[in-house]
Amino acid sequence: MDSIELRRLVVRSYHVNEVKICEKFSFNNKVLCIDNSCIAPLLEDELIKKIDIRIIKPHEHDIEINTIMDIIPISVKALGKLGSGITHTITGAYVMLTGCDEDGRQMHEFGSSEGILKEKLRLNMAGTPSSQDIIIHVDVLLKGGEVYDRHLPLAAFRACDEIISHIRGVLRTQDARSADEVHEFYDRVRMGAKKVAIVKQVAGQGAMYDNWLFPDQPSGYNGGVSIIDIGNMPIVLSPNEYRDGTLRSMD
């Protein structure tokens, strides 16, 4: 069947074999270095009391964690905006954000996942790391005694995105030729085929029951808008906009 190509999105993936805590953010020879000193400025936010970054290697999941707030891919636009142009993404390592407050309240809405990591995370699903992946664990301790509403988990999401933005900085400048995989995706019209749409109903009521749209960077926070703040009204994304991380989970 004939098809008309509307727009192209190129996703270059860069594989990570090792993640280390170092003195400077860098990404060379499949080794990703994270500089812990990026945490200090984030503690100026009075809602954030402590942030720990821990590197969890495959098969070392016998550790205690707070409730899992999100699993986040590390991606950055190298050219263009969400949905077209070129995106660089990391494979082999994903960010896991966990959090609670000083009173021990876990950051969740309905059911929580704190406990032993290997019992609380089903690996090898679309939304979770594979059994071979490294987990960059960001754990945020939030201020106690606060009213449990959106501002509290949002502070953790914002801080985590700041940390990821440093990694985006060293991912954006990777050489095209050193990419491990290159994928091309097209928004296209398939002439004569049945016209269908996907509808995704997502959470939109409050703290840890929220979704973010249109961030500046793929699966990011900054620049985005909450579906709650746009009245939960339906929004149409092109397939490639959706594929490029326009919808950010906050539930």
Partner: protein
């Protein structure tokens, strides 16, 4: 009740969503777009966003749609309403959501006759294990097959 840990779609899930992969690669289907709709608190708003979603699909001249929902309980009120609004407009609709044994629909209607259950747990419950009860490619392929059948039988 809303979105539990085992049904919750993470940002990584949205980034590599099996439903998008299956539908966008299917050469029998012309994917118009992905509609994101929220789940407001009060009933009037729930009805409004469902109606707007259905009207959007009609305006897009969609021959059919697949609607997924990663929550249950209260979220299924929105879900049933939106499916009904789509069905009333004579647009074939297939659902994907979590039912298992724990999350039978709190409300339903005649348009909810093709729902793919994304439960993966043995007991059919919210296990609080992140990722466990989320959509995979098999679920997406089932939904695509149901939709094709429904569209073929639709005499509109």
């Amino acid at each position: 009740m809303g979105v539990g840990p085992s049904t919750k779609e993470t940002s990584l899930h949205h980034f590599r969503d099996p439903l998008l992969d299956v539908i966008s690669e299917d050469t029998d289907l012309d994917l118009l777009g992905v509609i994101i709709v929220g789940t407001p608190q009060d009933n009037a708003s729930k009805e409004r966003v469902g109606q707007r979603t259905a009207q959007l699909l009609e305006a897009m001249r969609a021959d059919g749609c697949i609607i997924s929902c990663d929550g249950w309980g209260n979220s299924h009120v929105d879900y049933a309403n939106t499916i009904e609004e789509i069905g009333i407009r004579n647009i074939p609709v297939v659902g994907i959501t979590f039912n298992g044994t724990q999350a039978k629909f709190v409300v339903s209607n005649k348009y909810m006759d093709t729902i793919v259950d994304m439960n993966k747990s043995e007991k059919g419950i919210e296990t609080e294990v992140v990722g466990e009860n989320t959509v995979n490619k098999t679920d997406a392929r089932k939904a695509a097959a149901f939709l094709k059948l429904k569209m073929r039988n639709n005499t509109r």
